[in-house]
Symmetry: C2
Subunit: 145 residues, 2 copies
């Protein structure tokens, strides 16, 4: 017999909590040698994926976090010469955040670890299941947004 949707859903919620912390631990382990943490990993990923450049509140919107939390991370990463603030032609106050050369190097090194990790962890999972799960998660995200 199938469990009720209610119980299934609560189970799913707890499992997302659990998976989240495990993924953070994975991220920390992967990025440790690069002097990163999972929070910086998320920020550097968001910036690398953007073509046009992002402002601090823009990164926060992509990651679904408060702009204050992102600002604190980017400030430290600028100090560490991973990111730089560039004047924004579209907005005088809100500068663009871009990767420095060192930041790009770190990102490339990161991908050398991250890509095999991603491939390794999905090799025994059918692509249809990945798509179904992603679709459901996106649906929930939209619902709670």
């Amino acid at each position: 017999m199938h469990s009720s949707k209610r119980v299934l859903f609560l189970d799913l919620v707890l499992s997302v909590f659990r998976l989240n912390s495990l993924l953070i631990a994975e991220g920390d382990a992967m990025t440790e040698k690069l002097g990163l943490t999972h929070a910086r990993w998320k920020v550097i990923g968001a910036i690398a994926l953007s073509s046009a450049g992002l402002t601090v509140p823009g990164i926060a919107r992509v990651l679904g976090q408060s702009r204050q939390a992102v600002q604190r991370i980017t400030d430290v990463m600028v100090e560490d010469d991973l990111l730089q603030y560039q004047s924004n032609p579209k907005h005088k106050r809100s500068v663009l955040v871009t990767l420095t050369d060192k930041g790009k190097e770190v990102y490339n090194t990161l991908r050398e670890v991250q890509d095999p990790w991603a491939i390794e962890n999905t090799e025994d999972i059918p692509i249809e299941e990945l798509e179904t799960a992603l679709r459901l998660i996106r649906r929930l995200i939209k619902k709670f947004n």
Copy 2:
């Protein structure tokens, strides 16, 4: 054309991060009137689901967190008369954490909010998709454990 599994997987990871923070926000909103927070919500849920009683490190194992983090939450919840420490026949040092009468009341009130929330958010989602997603997430949890 299908995206590559690597990209799909990284997308899934970012989406789990995003959903996690949204679920925390949902939890905070639901429990606010009860004087709870999402951290206490998780702890009270773990205790309520256990039949035999749990120790602090036991709760930590269920939630996949450090025992120190759980200890801090339970200490405050005991102060607030939601939980109580009971002597553990199996272990002199490690006491059992149980719900007080007030804690049980709060849990029951909680369910009056939580259950409709769970039902409402799944009414347009086929049960098969929930099962597929949960199965995948569990698989990943097992992999990273």
